[in-house]
Symmetry: C2
Subunit: 739 residues, 2 copies
């Protein structure tokens, strides 16, 4: 996973107001992807057989063994470690018996720490002598592989090399409102080094905002209040809380994919834009541990930071600028290097017997910042076990999937989804034409508390249905009367708007589904077992301590949670590969859209009305989408399953619904996002807001100066018309109408 | 038709150099769309039956009657005349028995002459008295309807209203080189009125270049040397040559579609850009007749114009600026008005029985500048007879097309393809997903000499094959041993590169196929019976004299040429609706591309080499496309026609080949064109040049100043990589490979 945030926060964006939508628009929450209605009797039985087989045959020990092998050493994107792992994945799939396995290379711009010169943060005295120096590497604490010589110096991917010295300013979580707070308090960042804590927004946005305000460097750390709330006594390896020496890596590139080949694949014939135009920082950025951050924070001067910015280090957090001892300055010395390296996807195929030209994609990235036992190789291990079970079933029974299964192991995801973006750029036309679903697992587990799921609304019902089939890996939950993964999910993470249902989070961005959902219009989901919400994400995320031992001894002894995720993944994959009629939940999509429409029109009604802009056509389009779906689903009762072209026509119409929302011109000011419904909000690349092109513009209007308003309102009106058009298109594709 | 030019000139762009390509790349000209190979025995017989039926049942008298009715009065886009005709077309199709007929409205920006104040060109003396005034309308010469009161004042669509007075400058054909010639001779256009002759380039480009050079008005005329070469004695109504009073109408809008809703449909929810940003002139532009042009040219001063600019009027053509009598000035008084009006498409459906979600589009616009007996209603009459024959066959035999036939009568084409562009914008996703071909007939005839065909290379073989079936409407040609339309076409308009084959012209732009070919990637063709090449196009084009009588008494007595075009249209339509495997000529496409590659690398090799830019990857992609096609076609030998999903898969792959060349980002500087192979050249919106994004940029480089070169070379390299990528994509879509 490239970035993340507290899922509970994400799920709340629609707010409780959603309930009132029913008064405005007809909303039906009845599941309509009942398998029996969408399958012939023959298909139904065959599908049931393979679902049972998956549950019986996914083996936790196998997953453990796969994970053990992959996490023996680092396998950072574009390095020998990654290439070797790619080769091993390919040969594993070949041995399992996939029909085709290919390494798909891209030459991309990557970034590494120097092998000789560590990146260091220093406190300098008046004579430029360092009175304190940060750690070059994270300290080995427990697992033997933490001490391997190839563990890299601590760094942020794509941070510029540079040696900057200046006063330090503390910027809290580095959100836009945090930087605004500093401005309001007359703290100028020009020539300063920003110290910010990670946790609420994508670190590339923090670095970008700092750079835009004239900062000459950024230092990032994670505060124990967010990642070790129970105190430093019980941290890794004694718990899953963050130890003082952890310094999480991560990319600071703003846009996804190879930074030098936007929109086109990084193949040998590619055109490369000049590097100074790439969406990467021009200033040094560096992560440090919280024990190191203490050395800076404890010396800082200036006024006290606001209470929300105060953390759990034993200091009073101050804004700066500079230190109490006025002749001290902070020095940031970053020695990263850029390299054009080859990174590989590994693509394995299990060819469809009936519709080989329809694809069910399952995928996970296999590159890791360091050892990657959680992110991503818990997912890779699950994928290998899934392919093993499906190939075994094929050998035992002669079964072939109806549609083609495509297994995707992505390279260099951590740098910003590099190889999945390039692949989608290279094969996007075929994929958009032929793919029915992409099921991404960035990591199989980052905890053992509950399932958490991001999903396109079209997949909601299928996910609910599959999750209800997966046995609960938590014996205590079973004992409490919750025998399935679904039950615990609904119990521990209910949807605030419908407390009897589990929470479905917006698909947003942050992992390899981005291109498929947001550029190609393929419905995507990403799920995992996660932690409770006591921390801002998984505490060991992107640190040295994401070890096999963390998984094996703390998160998932016995690997039953991995097994549950693998079974769910497999069940969804075969449901989409086998069902006669694709089990898309059209009504869930209509509901999702109606709620978003309600939220926007409620929240911004006065603002929009002040400009005499009508939301009437948008509202009519929302209603029209809903009523068209009811008609379409009514007609499904009459499907002749013996007529393959009739079934294909229905499925092709269903596939077009998500495609209908793709605007080839992109969202306002964001040509790299095309999906007008599900694109993440602009200000924070991780989060998902329905109709982000509208809501981002409305937010900007509320914050804009007078001279910007005309352009912003024009953008709003223009995009409103586009959104309305695509919504009407999504209804039309379910019909034969060309009028 | 919106604009046109001598077809022989167009066809020569590739040049004789094409022959040498065989030395570089393997080129196979063998037709590979042999119907027997691509059809089951059952399909082959059924198709043969309906082809015979079309030949036997298309009735020339019916076409004549349809044309007579439609040309009784004017039916300019957005007027009552157009709306009435739309209603009549719809009810005719309903009576014939099409399954569905719909009027599809768009509210678009149109432009009309004032009903009270004519547009006039005057010569003013020193006291501002007019010593000469141009005709307000074209003079009735023969047909009664020429005298109807609703005949509009002479105008150019979208020309700005304005009253401009200044010195006149003669700019020849108004091409870029003509304007350059004036500059080189120090004739400044600032504050001047440009007089240019129509014939070589799109009039909107003439107006745009004049406006860009500071001209305050443009007067256009057609010189008798181009349109009445045998002299004014034998002109309409005694021949098809242009009479002295003819003043051709035409649009001066630069881009296609509604000027206020670029990229999105002009539906009720549309956003409208400010009119001052629309691609329409800000200066008055006006057409006049050549008898009126004489009054200006005969008085002009300045040096003699170059010999190419001298015409057949009995004067010495001079450049100006101004008149010999120095106190005279030219006055241009244009009183056009803009209106947001409704224009309609009429869409008629004959639903497919096997693959209702695959569309064969046939279409023609029905709006006309005035009476439109040639452009476009010769084509409309043919379309009505085609739909009549096919519905009659259906009634008699129970036949239904395998794929859906969609009949399209387009509104407001003359203004710049308005309603077809809006329709493609509204339904583009479905159309790109489902359409196998679009067969456009802008006009059925504009002469009786030979067929002339513009086409996407994918359709070449099917067109050859169909044309070989159509009986020759010219008895003299039959007597000369050329019994089919194909024979005369090959004889009278041979391909200079392959003299035993008829000439296929580039698809370019200029009629309603534009959106389908260039934005959606649907292979298109446009054909008609045309004149010989003694004139620069059809002399009565867009004038008052495009009357039923012109057609009935001069061009096509007996309507046998109309019948031949109707039969060809019908044959192609049923071939594409019925054949099991779509009869695309992949090898013709590979050949077309290889020749273009050869032409570019030959013509510009030194220039490209001077920048160390490699054409190697492009060349490899060309070869790869060719070799993939050979493999794909080899596999066609093994098709199981009893497996509908296998046949569908092959057809879906075939359909994707043209789509593969669509770059959603558009051509360099031209987002309104997406097809990287077939887009017309930038400088002249009518013409077709393969890989126009490359060749236009290379031409610009040869003409650029030093400070523009870096950007232009960057554009070239970037687009070269894009073209290479899409060419590789076009090969990949014919495979199952995702690597």
């Amino acid at each position: 996973m490239m970035l993340k945030k507290n899922p509970a926060l994400t799920g709340c964006i629609c707010g409780a107001a959603g309930f009132a939508v029913a008064a405005v628009l007809v909303i039906t929450l009845v599941s309509t992807s009942d398998k029996k209605e969408r399958n012939s009797v023959r298909t139904e039985q065959a599908l049931s057989d393979i679902e049972d087989y998956i549950i019986s045959n996914v083996n936790a020990d196998n997953i453990r063994n796969f994970l053990r092998y992959m996490t023996l050493k680092p396998h950072l994107g574009g390095t020998l470690g990654e290439t070797e792992l790619a080769g091993w994945l390919a040969s594993t799939w070949e041995e399992q018996g996939l029909d085709e396995v290919h390494l798909v290379p891209y030459e991309v711009l990557l970034s590494y720490p120097s092998q000789d010169l560590p990146n260091l943060v220093r406190i300098l005295d008046a004579s430029n002598q360092a009175i304190w120096i940060s750690a070059a590497k994270q300290k080995p604490l427990y697992a033997p592989e933490e001490s391997l010589p190839e563990i890299p110096f601590t760094f942020n991917g794509y941070a510029a090399a540079g040696n900057a010295t200046g006063e330090v300013v503390y910027a809290g979580y580095g959100r836009e409102e945090d930087f605004k707070f500093l401005e309001e308090n007359n703290i100028d960042l020009s020539g300063k080094i920003v110290l910010a804590r990670y946790g609420h927004i994508f670190r590339a946005n923090i670095a970008d905002m700092a750079e835009g305000r004239g900062a000459i460097g950024v230092v990032l750390y994670s505060d124990p209040s967010d990642y070790a709330p129970e105190g430093s006594d019980i941290v890794y390896p004694n718990s899953y809380f963050m130890p003082p020496s952890a310094a999480p890596f991560g990319t600071v590139k703003l846009k996804d994919g190879d930074p030098l080949t936007p929109f086109y694949p990084a193949v040998e014939s590619a055109y490369h834009i000049p590097q100074d135009e790439a969406p990467i920082p021009k200033i040094p950025v560096q992560p440090i541990s919280y024990e190191d951050a203490w050395h800076i924070l404890s010396r800082m001067g200036g006024v006290e930071a606001p209470s929300e910015w105060q953390g759990d280090l034993n200091v009073t957090y101050r804004l700066g600028p500079g230190f109490q001892q006025q002749d001290l300055r902070l020095n940031l010395d970053v020695n990263n290097i850029y390299q054009q390296n080859i990174t590989h996807n590994v693509i394995g195929i299990m060819k469809g017997s009936v519709e080989p030209d329809r694809y069910v994609l399952v995928g996970n990235h296999y590159d890791a910042w360091i050892l990657g036992a959680v992110d991503p190789n818990s997912g890779t291990a699950a994928m290998l076990e899934l392919s093993r079970v499906l190939t075994q079933y094929s050998k035992e029974t002669g079964w072939r999937p109806r549609r083609t299964l495509v297994f995707c192991a992505w390279g260099s995801e951590e740098y910003g989804l590099l190889a999945s973006v390039e692949w989608a750029e290279q094969f996007g036309k075929q994929l958009a034409d032929r793919t029915v679903v992409y099921i991404n697992i960035d990591m199989a587990i980052e905890g053992n508390y509950t399932l958490r799921t991001k999903s396109a609304p079209l997949l909601y019902d299928a996910i609910y249905s599959s999750a209800k089939k997966v046995p609960n890996p938590d014996p205590e939950e079973v004992a409490a009367g919750r025998p399935t993964v679904y039950d615990t999910w609904a119990h521990r993470r209910p949807d605030p708007r419908q407390p009897d249902m589990p929470l479905m989070q917006f698909i947003g961005s942050g992992s390899d589904y981005k291109s498929f959902q947001h550029n190609l219009g393929i419905p995507c989901t990403d799920f995992r077992y996660t932690h409770d919400n006591k921390t801002l994400g998984e505490p060991m995320y992107h640190t040295l301590y994401e070890t096999f031992e963390l998984v094996d001894e703390i998160y998932d002894q016995g690997f039953e949670f991995h097994k549950a995720v693998t079974v769910l993944w497999g069940d969804l994959a075969v449901v989409f590969s086998e069902m006669d009629i694709l089990p898309y939940s059209l009504r869930a999509y209509a509901d999702f859209i109606a709620r978003a429409y309600y939220d926007i029109t409620t929240q911004y009604s006065a603002l929009i009305a002040s400009k005499n802009i009508t939301m009437e056509y948008f509202g009519k389009a929302v209603e029209n989408f809903n009523s068209t779906i009811i008609t379409f689903e009514g007609n499904l009762q009459n499907v002749d399953f013996e007529n393959p072209l009739q079934v294909r026509k229905i499925n092709d119409q269903l596939m077009m619904v998500e495609r209908a929302f793709i605007d080839p011109l992109g969202l306002p000011g964001r040509p790299e996002y095309n999906h007008v419904v599900t694109a993440p909000s602009k200000k924070d690349a991780y989060s998902g807001t329905a109709f982000a092109g509208l809501t981002d513009t409305l937010v900007a209007i509320t914050e804009a100066s007078e001279d910007q308003l005309d352009d912003l309102w024009r953008t709003f009106s223009h995009h409103l018309a586009a959104v309305t058009h695509f919504l009407n298109t999504a209804a039309k594709v379910l019909t034969d109408d060309l009028w």
